[in-house]
């Protein structure tokens, strides 16, 4: 029973992490309609900020990571995505692939292809007793951070002027513009949010693994994409749901898979969306995915 509770908490923590990734991808998708491959590199660069700022007090390094994530996202949008804003979605996806490659290899060239270790506060690697269950502090942090982020995002979207503009633009971009909402600003804001979310994920990943590497963003971005697909495109709730499902599945598989199948955990997890898509081609929440129908 204790073990089950332990595994469930682990699963929830991982699911929260994945939900954060999926949210970061969805925020941009709902406003722009594009899936951003480079989101993984936003995560990676924020993580490297922690590495670079390792000498500073941890709080300062965290702030640096956050700023890095937001800045990179906004710069990439301005430089690479604005010129192709009018292109079709496949073209935008491929453009984001190009950006991802460039960013990944700039870091490889500037730092190193090998993983670098990052010192994290000792408290993070410890665990806290919660009754009979021993929960790693990192998982508390993850759950807590996710809750804070969701609350913050909710506040931003539903209680601020800017958030109102974003929600309107996400529903009907053209109509929002007709009312005077500035397209450029809304898009920049959505990328900024996406970058902030990426920074959160990057920080958590560093604390989990204790290292950074140029390719560390690859699996997360895939997780984000897959979560969005199985949740049903373009719905933030769907993304969170998809992320939770993926994370819980992954974690539980990790706990209960027989040892010889354990290395294939990722393979099984990523085959999950295919199974879902067979039965529900539009994802679990089934939002419209641009299927052509007259």
């Amino acid at each position: 029973m204790t073990e089950l509770a332990q595994n469930l908490i682990d699963a929830l923590a991982l699911g929260s992490l994945y939900a954060l990734i999926a949210l970061g991808v969805t925020v941009v998708y709902t406003v722009m309609g594009m899936m951003n491959f480079a989101h993984g590199e936003f995560i990676m660069l924020a993580a490297y900020a922690l590495y670079v700022l390792a000498g500073l007090p941890f709080a300062a390094a965290l702030a640096g990571a956050l700023v890095t994530g937001i800045l990179i996202a906004m710069v990439v949008e301005r430089v690479a995505f604005r010129p192709v804003r009018k292109a079709d979605l496949s073209a935008q996806l491929v453009t984001s692939l190009a950006v991802a490659t460039i960013l990944q290899n700039v870091v490889t060239g500037a730092v190193n292809a090998r993983p670098q270790s990052v010192a994290t506060p000792a408290a993070i690697s410890e665990s806290t007793e919660l009754g009979a269950v021993s929960v790693p502090n990192l998982e508390f942090l993850t759950l807590g951070l996710t809750a804070v982020v969701l609350a913050g995002l909710g506040w931003l979207l539903y209680r601020t002027r800017a958030g109102l503009a974003m929600r309107a633009a996400a529903e009907n971009f053209e109509m929002a513009r007709l009312l005077g909402v500035r397209a450029d600003r809304v898009i920049a804001l959505s990328f900024a949010i996406s970058g902030a979310l990426a920074a959160a994920v990057g920080v958590l990943l560093v604390m989990q693994t204790g290292q950074v590497s140029p390719t560390m963003g690859l699996t997360p971005v895939l997780i984000g994409f897959v979560a969005v697909v199985i949740g049903g495109f373009g719905r933030m709730v769907g993304a969170v749901l998809g992320g939770l499902l993926l994370g819980i599945a992954s974690s539980l598989l990790g706990a209960y898979l027989p040892a010889d199948l354990l290395p294939f955990r990722d393979a099984i997890v990523f085959s999950l969306p295919v199974a879902i898509l067979i039965f529900r081609p539009r994802g679990l929440l089934g939002a419209a995915t641009g299927e052509a129908r007259v």
């Binding site: 073209a91 491929v94 453009t95 692939l97 460039i102 290899n105 490889t108 895939l222 393979a267 129908r293």
Partner: protein, 619 residues
Amino acid sequence: MSGVGLRSRSSLVVSLLVPLGLIALTVAIGASGTPSLQSTVTMILCNLIVVLGLQVFIGNSGVYSFGQLGFASVGAYAAALLTLPAAFAALQTPGLPDLIATAQLGPLLSTLIAAAVCGLLAAVVGLPLMRTSTLAIPISTFAFLIVVYNVLANWDAVSGGSSGLVSVPRTTSIESAGLWAAAAVVVALAFKWSARGYRLQATREDEVAARSLGISVMGERLIAFALSGVLCGIGGALAVHQSGVLNPTTFYFAATVTTVTMLVLGGARSVFGAVLGAVAVASVNEVLRGVEDGAHLLGLLSIGRTPGLAAIGVGLILLATMIAMPSGLTGGREAGELSWFRRLPSPRVPAIRAARAIDYRIGGSIDQAADGVAGGSLQAEGVSVAFGGLQVLRGVDLKLPRGEALGLIGPNGAGKTTLVNVLSGFLAPDAGTVSLDDADVSGRSPTHLARAGLSRTFQAALPFPHLSGLESVAVGAMGVGVDRRRAVAVAAEVLTRLGMHEQAALPAGSLPPASQRLLGVARALATGPSYLLLDEPAAGLSELEGEELTSILRGVIEDFGCGILLIEHEMSVVMSLCPRVQVIDDGVTLRVGSPAEIQADPAVVEAYLGSSYLTAANA
């Protein structure tokens, strides 16, 4: 067949010879150089085959798959394991079944088996993936890539794990790579220009229009996906027999970006583009790799070790291409279609007055000669449709007999287009039935209806911009299963009868709007329909063009004997063409009658202009 082809002979020859020539040139340069250069060039040729695999799927379907290098990986591993000497196999892959471990096949056989394995895998994986939407495919294929990587990296006993395999026999010579590459070019071109390839291209050009012509989007994508898997598998197999080593990252993310860049730079729609892009990007890659290790530029600049420089270069090429030149260097055209060859003759479509080539009905349970069910009709009974609480159609009836023209008019928002969407299978009615020649087809897909003899056009012409007029119309016939040769003959005949044979060779996207509309009609006619639904064919036409359209449509009714439902707002066209007109307003039928009756009917006038108009007019 009297020499009507989709392209002139010289264009065909040039399109074939130029990429083959480029390959031959590459082989020649490589063969005459140092062993190191030979090795590099051989690898370039192997990559070219993978890029051609990408082209077959991505270029023709317009959908990006990021998983094709998963097939290259599988093909490479399969070929490696089949040729690995038993001793090495025992060392590196202890878990391999004895049959494979002891097998030591020759390069040709192992490549063929690898190709077959990949093709099978692609067919199996493609089945669920191609069912998903166009935007989900890039993501799910990306997931496939990572699954393949994960399995290969962890299945130590069979694949050698993340350290991979070594001592694979190096049997790929530059000449054999060149031959395989040439074969791949021929296959890619042959596929692109086959009936199947054209059907797939139609889904790329306009998915909605393609479905209305009887094309199964998922089916065509699946076949191309499988063929693509085969080609990528061959490329991978040859590559591993060139380098002798292999690990899961060989064909993974970096290689995916590189090959996609090669395809995009050349121009995804073009086979020649794939070859061009592969050679160009590979060359840049090699140069940059050299610089990565530190170099002196012209004796002036000194660059230290910069790993990742080549990949940055490739990424920048991709980014620049997407922003500035999204159609690539070739603009998606084959060698014989480029403007350098402007002087080459275009296919002529002679004025054919042959026996009607369109007397066919393909497949399914409806297998009849054109004059079979002379008394048949298309009928809607009690059709009702609501969109989220708004009732758009309330129990509408409609009867369209063969060989007759029925006009469908009504104010904006009356429900006409919705009715046509129901009749043509794009929308399922909430209540009521649609029957075609007494067979209930309610809720059947547009693809099914096209093959059953119902065809339509759209308010927006929905042309296939990059296909020529002749090709576009031929696709109509191919969509219902006619073979390529016959489809071209049918297309020629239809175009001639519609007076469009002089524009047949031009890309549909370059034609003026009136011609695009007419082309849409021709395309629908090529499916050999018993019933043709025309949605505002005269919109935006001048008065003169409208008159021309009217006489053409009149000829169509006489020659082809199909029933025509004409939605129009240009009353002159409707009134002069249709002996019967049905007026729909607010989701119900107001009146069915002759044009004169309609124009005089006060209820109709009121629907359009309001009652106070009538009062004033009669005052």
